[in-house]
């Protein structure tokens, strides 16, 4: 639930705002509007009906405001450009055309504040609102100081925040002072500053700072969400009188923020088509020239049917039941039975036992953190939880718990970590989810600190192991690159570099900034990402310089050699593979007839072996030819897609081996012919699936020059070959 907000922007459009000052090459208005547009477009982005915006122009040529209409004096050259209301893209566009510098300067800033104030009072009445007036001006036009105290009082009474941001206003806190400031401007600054100081809720600042801060990402605040409100138990209170139950509340502490999702759209078609003209035109106006409309997904369902052409046929969605798969067996369920595979659980949070800090590693965490506190204003719960937190802390222990968020939810294992308020201002438990047995995949890796030989003995010195020298260099390097006290705070004290609250999600803010910029100015190209977003993408320059000698020593000790791109992953003609015993299998093979013919049953091994022992080009060609025939026969004999996977596997073996032997032409020639045969139906029926799904989808296209230097096919030609229809 969001609070309701209303903000009225007062923009100085006076003559002088069109000028450029202090060495900037943009006008004061454009400069100021960077701030205003960013603010307004953020409101548009939020898309909230309860966040409303009004805009008042100061120093406009016309005069258009309620006070003036009532005949009050001093309200000339002030125009309401937009009444308070929700902000949309179309109002943003309208506004853009209105924000132009005028040739006038007679408006009074304080009168404009009164106009804004009355707008807010009229709109928000006595309802709960966050009210704000933001004035941007260069302070060049004269201000009547007389009523400022009354205005301040009225602002305070109506609980309105006043923000005044001035172009080139002096701000000692920020460290800005305009040299040779005109007297009039200095006086206006004084008046406005004075007004803000009388407000109980006011901000007075200079534009340079405001614009600078625009680059700092703003984080969308999210209300705390209570995930659990109930008992944390030790033992079973329903069975054992001794069991303990503490009433707790659990909230999210971390929750991954996601970049705004992109929608799939199409450009609305045929604007002139008569049947659609009405709707299209409507949307066109709303969408500002280019109409997009969302794309929906439609699903169709098919089942295998040997009698149908192609072996499959469509079925109606209405004729389908729901079910689960158990291996390859499909188990249909009636709608009412579907839930019986769901474990019945009761909401609950119960402790399984305790483990020492030393037995836990953070990398077993499976997800986001929660925070647990006692139920508010429940003395017993507060004391009980506090005692648990402190006991865990003193014993350096965590609690392992079983957590069921609500009735029927899947149980989770949560690890509770004590936070006894030593540094933070409140005490609580944090929780992280842990894995279950099924979540752990058992992967074997060789040890990092020793090497086993084939005979099973252990070696401690080996090219895969660091030398003493390398160990020392690494140790010095790690010590030199320490970030713990690398940054400085405002008082010049060393503080941690790259603390979590300084790390903004670059993806989210990059996209949001670009969307806002495009909304304000659809024509402008998108700029590079803000520097602050890439701040942690590389080590700070300073530390690299500091650790220069350690880095050099490490590079020297490491003796890293880059493997030339050509030999990476290339098999080429290398040592024939041997079993552990080192037995020469090729010699055994030589005794068989394997070296001349390839049987369809055992095609891949025999093909490889024939090539491995081939001594002339004719043998290689013969092997490729035989393999090609086997592939074609498999496809020809295939009932529907039965042998497609096998054909594809043989093709893959052919492709890889011929690349290795640097005779890509053999494969490419064969594949060109195969494509024709497949698409023309020459191989006993419609074989297009073999082409698209297995050859194209399986990346078995032509061998390009990137893969084999001697190939005559470029990457573009290869792409054309797989997408083209002939």
């Amino acid at each position: 639930m969001a609070d309701k907000e209303t903000t009225v922007y007062i923009v100085d459009l006076g003559e002088s705002m069109a000028d450029c000052h202090n060495g900037r090459d943009e006008s004061d208005l454009d400069y100021a509007m960077r701030y205003v547009w960013d603010k307004i477009s953020t409101t548009v982005a939020a898309s909230r009906k309860t966040w409303t915006v009004g805009v008042v122009g100061l120093n406009t040529e016309e005069t258009d405001n309620a006070q003036d209409r009532q005949g009050l004096e001093g309200y000339e050259n002030i125009s309401v450009l937009q009444d308070i209301g929700p902000m949309t893209m179309s109002s943003l566009r309208d506004l853009r055309s209105l924000i132009q510098p005028s040739h006038s300067y007679g408006g009074d800033a304080i009168s404009a504040i009164v106009v804004a104030l009355s707008m807010i009072e009229g709109f928000t009445k006595k309802l709960k609102y966050k009210r704000r007036i933001i004035l941007v001006t260069n302070g060049e036009s004269p201000i009547d100081d007389e009523s400022s105290e009354d205005v301040a009082n009225r602002l305070n009474d109506s609980n309105i925040e006043l923000v005044v941001i001035g172009v080139d206003f002096d701000d000692p806190d920020y460290g800005f002072k305009e040299e040779d400031k005109s007297k009039a401007k200095a006086e206006n600054e004084r008046i406005l500053r004075n007004l803000v100081e009388q407000c109980s809720n006011g901000v007075f600042g200079t534009m340079a700072q405001a614009v600078e801060e625009l680059a700092i990402p703003r984080i969308k605040p999210v209300r705390p969400f209570k995930a659990y409100d109930g008992a944390l138990t030790l033992g079973d209170p329903s069975k054992y009188p001794s069991a303990l139950s503490i009433h707790v509340e659990r909230y999210f502490k971390t929750k991954r923020a996601m970049p705004p999702p992109a929608s799939t759209v199409v450009v609305n078609t045929e604007p002139g088509a008569p049947s659609q003209s009405q709707t299209i035109n409507d949307e066109d106006t709303e969408m500002g020239g280019t109409g997009f409309s969302g794309v929906k997904q439609m699903r169709t369902y098919r089942v295998n049917d040997p009698d149908a052409p192609g072996g499959r046929r469509d079925v109606e969605f209405e004729d389908l039941a729901k079910g689960y798969q158990y291996g390859r067996t499909v188990v249909p369920f009636s709608e009412s039975d579907l839930s019986i595979t769901k474990l019945e659980t009761k909401k609950g949070f119960t402790i399984l036992g305790f483990v020492p800090f030393s037995s836990y590693q953070p990398f077993i965490n499976m997800g986001e953190t929660g925070i647990i506190v006692a139920q508010k204003l429940n003395e017993e719960a507060e004391l009980a939880l506090s005692a648990l937190i402190h006991a865990l802390h003193e014993l350096e222990s965590y609690a392992v718990t079983r957590y069921v968020q609500k009735d029927g939810a899947q149980p989770q294992i949560l690890l509770l970590k004590p936070n006894p308020a030593l540094e933070d201002e409140f005490e609580c438990l944090y929780d992280v989810p842990l894995p279950f047995a099924e979540d752990v995949r058992s992967y074997q890796f060789p040890p990092l600190d020793k090497v086993f030989t084939v005979t099973g003995s252990v070696i401690k010195e080996h090219r895969l192991l660091p030398s003493k020298n390398l160990e020392q260099a690494m140790s010095d390097f790690v010590d030199a690159m320490d970030l713990s006290g690398f940054d400085e705070n405002e008082d010049g004290k060393p503080v941690e570099y790259a603390a979590i609250d300084e790390m903004y999600n670059p993806t989210i803010h990059r996209i949001n900034q670009a969307i806002r910029a495009r909304a304000v100015d659809p024509e402008a190209p998108i700029g590079p990402p803000a520097e602050i977003l890439l701040r942690f993408s590389k080590p700070p320059e300073k530390i690299i310089n500091k650790a220069k000698s350690e880095i050099e020593a490490l590079i020297e000790a490491a003796e890293i050699k880059k493997v030339p791109a050509k030999t990476q992953g290339r098999r080429g003609r290398k040592e024939p593979a041997k079993p552990l015993s080192g037995l020469d299998i090729d010699a055994l093979l030589g005794e068989t007839k394997r070296t001349t013919t390839i049987s369809a049953d055992n095609a891949v091994p025999e093909f490889k072996q024939m090539l491995a022992t081939a001594s002339d080009d004719a043998t290689v060609e013969s092997a490729a030819k035989q393999m090609g025939e086997i592939v074609r026969k498999l496809i020809r004999d295939s009932f529907a897609d039965l042998f497609y996977a096998r054909a594809a596997e043989n093709l893959r073996a052919m492709r890889e081996e011929l690349i290795g032997l640097e005779v890509p032409g053999l494969y490419n020639t064969f594949l060109k012919r195969l494509k024709k045969s497949l698409l023309s139906g020459e191989l006993n029926g419609d074989r297009r699936e073999m082409w698209f799904k297995y050859v194209v989808g399986g990346r078995l296209g032509l061998i390009t020059q990137d893969e084999s230097e001697v190939s005559e096919v470029t990457a573009d030609q290869a792409r054309e070959f797989v997408t083209g229809s002939s």
Binding site: M89, A257, V330, D449
Partner: protein, 646 residues
Amino acid sequence: MAWGGDEDRRPEDEGEEELDEADYKTQKDAVLFAIDVSESMLEQPSTTHSKKADKDSPIAAALKCAYQFMQQRIIAQPKDMMGILLFGTEKSKFRDETGGRSGTGYPHCYLFTDLDVPAAEDVKTLKSLVEEGEDPDEVLVPAKEPASMANMLFCANQIFTTNAANFGSRRLFIITDNDNPHGNDKTAKSSAAVRAKDLYDLGVVIELFPISQGGKKFDVSKFYDDIIYRDPAAEAGSPDELKTSKAGDGLTLLNSLISNINSKQTPKRAYFSNLHFELAPNLTISIKGYMPLHRQQPARTCYVWLGGEQPQLAQSETIKVDSETRTVDKSEVKKAYKFGGEYIHFKPEEAASLKNLGSKGLRLIGFKPRSMLPSWASVKKSIFIFPSEEHYVGSTRVFSALWQKLLASDRVGIAWFIARENANPIMVAMIPSRTPDEEMSETPYLPAGLWLYPLPFADDLRDVELSAPPRSADELTDKMREIVQNLQLPRAMYNPLKYPNPSLQWHYKVLQAMALDEDVPEALDDATIPKYKQIDKRVGGYLSEWKEALAEKARSLMKSRAMKREAEDDDEEDGGRPAAKRAKPVAKAAGGPMSNAQLKTAFEKDTLKKMTVAQLKDVLTSKGVSAVGKKAELIEKVEQWIEENV
């Protein structure tokens, strides 16, 4: 491409996380068990009086393993295949349906379960053989003459060629107690070696699970060294360590075999390969990434067509349509962002440049003491990395040096990480894990190496404004310590392997029963439910005492608070604040939310309706209840909350 074969994949921008995992799964795995049937494999263990003694013959243990493997596979790798081939049997059976080769093609080979994604029927047949010992076809009868290994290997070759063509991972698990099946018969040995080479060239990895009985050593050099190859995918320096299964050391043969086979359960699939890890400018090594931890969920429901003889899975295809339900071609589709009720569009090249915040890779920016990692800084599972020599020779030794240093100094690396081109960058802490068999290891179930532990961004933090004032330790804390000390988990650690996921187990138990037409089980043996009886026995006494002390303390705290409140109220009245004229009798609007006791009083006196909508909403929000609705609804919600919670 109309036949892209990518129906399972999600559109790229949506849910990148899922896409990564889906990509990773495209590599399918097929495992064929080849189990030796011989007199010695069938021999029952000698009966002893010890309770822990073996009850299973080697063959029974092997089949039980296969059965367990099959069940796990259905849960964890529902798309992967398995099969069981018995060899050395008196009977022979290949496939009935294939005309070409009949059973005589592979004498003494009995294809018990054909290689495929297991069906309920396969599970049932295997189950009845394993659990009830039902062997109606008398397959477990050894042949009078020994089976030809060459023959068995070629039989396996044919099974893989036809059933698991184009699979990324194919493995043959040989379980036998015979280290020398062909004695001195050179010809037989050679032809077996040739057939083994065929399997190697076909890309099938042979895993040997030797069984040793009666203290006899299984000598691989007699025969199997000619059959087995170094796994081409294995890391340099990998030990081709063979673990022989045997009874002893308090372990039954079955347990020993299960543990050996389980360690090969999942084929090792890399999440990324040859990623560049930049330790410093001009110092780059290459690494591979793995996901040893991954949350396993019950499979989603599917749609079933019941019109045929047997229930059949309906394959779905999606087509994109516009608002006029006209089919939209892929080339027409554009990506746009909703903004202020409209779409903001970027050209494809602009969209690409927006996503591009650097090329893929891992770049170190420095180190921090591990204690600087806040205990709440967790957002998602970690990725395991291990060095690879493929792009940079020397990567392993540098990685090893870093790993050792981080362990020794208790520090973590901080790095910028992009897993693949166009993936979203994240910040990670690099945390070392100890060697699993080391005494000190916190994670004996995980490999040694470095972990990329994702750090939250500032955007991921929720501001929880809660104000439980810190409390100094007191006797309640002291007493609680005794309770904590007496309730340590076994071996003082959380070992996930001891805690199967109850939802997942239940789902598949029920599903299995339904698929096999058995009775649905009544209850689940849920390891995540605490041992309540033990808790009561061990700390029941402490707890009772503690609760008494708590009640007393709470009473006095309540009292002192009430006095403080009264004093504050007096102050306010003395001050005669002007705002008082708007104050409602029940709510102290200015004084923050009402306490539960105040709410209860208001409820009982029926004065809740005198509160304003804003006040009601504040109350509801502070209780975490949705504060949407008209005033009457809000009051109802507050009342409901009070009834349930106060």
